[in-house]
Symmetry: C2
Subunit: 157 residues, 2 copies
DNA sequence: TATTGTTATACTCTATAACTATA
DNA sequence: TATAGTTATAGAGTATAACAATA
């Protein structure tokens, strides 16, 4: 007889399912040759076109240096462009290109498919209830709507 | 006027909250000088004492090489020990030490605190309902109870 | 002197492949 | 020849620090 293994709580279920959902999304969005961070950045740019990189970094909660690398990757593929601000030449306003805007629509489609697949076990009423409960917890924990916490690393303890 | 940003679905909420929960747990469990993967391994060993490293790797869905490094770290701290099997000297049976067993109890306490904190916004009925819905989805998606999907990496598409 | 953006560098985590010992 | 475990190595992703341009 040895000590019992402590049972997992609801938080673990949430973590487990959240990681699974993230992996499944990464796999799906990979078909568009995008990574999840790139996808989130595209959304952030679409939501606030012309933002400076500093502003985007603040919004996503990530170091500016990481944002530079992400924007580089998207710019090379012609999805976004940097436009220098003549009034303050330090600033680079980031905009979606037409290709970026088109790809955003594809992202929306992939996200809906992902959603349907993941929650296939729940009927519409259950889905609504789940969403409600998750939103309540997310609000209580101060999570910014639409911003993935993976852009920042928490300090140890 | 530009193209609208596609709305996030319930799956995103799940991913967002799951990542948040994982970060919060990592922070808490860090107070015991443990990482989440180490914690999961301790639980797996407690659940099947004397397993070979190969068996543990299979159960967690991780490459054996990663398991070696994890066991190394726990063994150096005196939390687990490898016992050579005399009948087949290739096998290393992994067991918790007394210190490991004691730490497991602390892990259980920390996990309960984490659970309570994370779901503070929900009343008992809501918590039960959330757990039920999450469990239903997890079962449908084929997630092994108590095993975090983060031990394995999914192939791209 | 302060701020935006960039580059250089190092660190952590994980995976792949090669190797050792036992069978 | 096959299996358990290990070591060596390399890659991806991210962070910290130093730097350049502009204000």
């Amino acid at each position: 007889m040895h000590a019992p293994v402590p049972p997992v709580g609801s938080a673990f279920l949430l973590t487990q399912l959240g990681t699974h959902a993230a992996q499944a999304f990464a796999q799906r969005i990979g078909e568009l040759d995008l990574t999840p961070p790139q996808t989130g950045l595209l959304r952030a740019i679409a939501g606030a076109p012309g933002s400076s990189q500093q502003a985007l970094a603040d919004r996503l909660g990530t170091p500016a240096t990481r944002l530079v690398a992400l924007v580089d990757g998207l710019e090379e593929r012609g999805l976004v462009e940097r436009r220098r601000n003549p009034a303050d030449r330090r600033l680079h306003a980031v905009h979606l290109t037409d290709a970026g805007t088109a790809l955003l629509a594809d992202i929306g489609r992939v996200a809906r498919e992902h959603d349907d697949d993941l929650l296939a076990a729940l009927d519409p009423g259950e889905r609504a209830r789940l969403r409600e409960l998750l939103a309540k917890v997310a609000a209580d924990r101060g999570l910014a709507p639409g911003v993935h916490p993976g852009y920042r690393t928490l300090p140890p303890a």
